[in-house]
Amino acid sequence: MSVLPVSQNKRRALYRNLMVGLIAILGVLAFVSRSFGVEVHQGSSLILLPVVALAALQFGALDEVAKHAHYAAWYWGCLAALVAIGALAVGLSNGVVPFEPIATQAAHWIGSGAEGGFVAGLLAAPILMLAGYLVFSTIHWLRTR
């Protein structure tokens, strides 16, 4: 017999609350690492794995309206992010967008040199896509709350 709630609504809430709790712990670990220079990579990885599993479980427990909202937010958010990335790339290569402030921030948060630049480039796309997703999710939430 399953210990999980029978109601899809309650299962979804359980997964979401567990995920939010684990993400909050990740946030605290990131803050501790940044502020006090404590090594937290292994602990963070151990927490990240159940978060990914819970995200998959939660998606399975979503009703069709919420799933549709996720699809639409990912589509429009990622499309907006791709346009922003393209515009940024063109702007940077033409000198319209100043490179220095972006490079300074990337060096501060991620690291300098070729390695830091490579990681910053890798992270730029998903961060912008996530931001786009959050914007469109918020719009949907405001329309249907």
Partner: protein, 70 residues
Amino acid sequence: MRNRLKVLRAERNWSQADLADKLDVSRQSVNAIETGKYDPSLPLAFRIAKVFALPIEQIFSDDEVAQAAE
């Protein structure tokens, strides 16, 4: 697509949350369907019909058919 969810819900004195519980979907989902922002799939439409104990066509109607009737 038009629907009579709000009227049917009011007749039974159910809140959106009550209907959401009966359908096992979120309250926001009920709101999205009720306000026409989302058209439910056939399985969900049948579940809604079952909850209200009505034929599906008494809850949902095509826009053009509804306009012609008006």
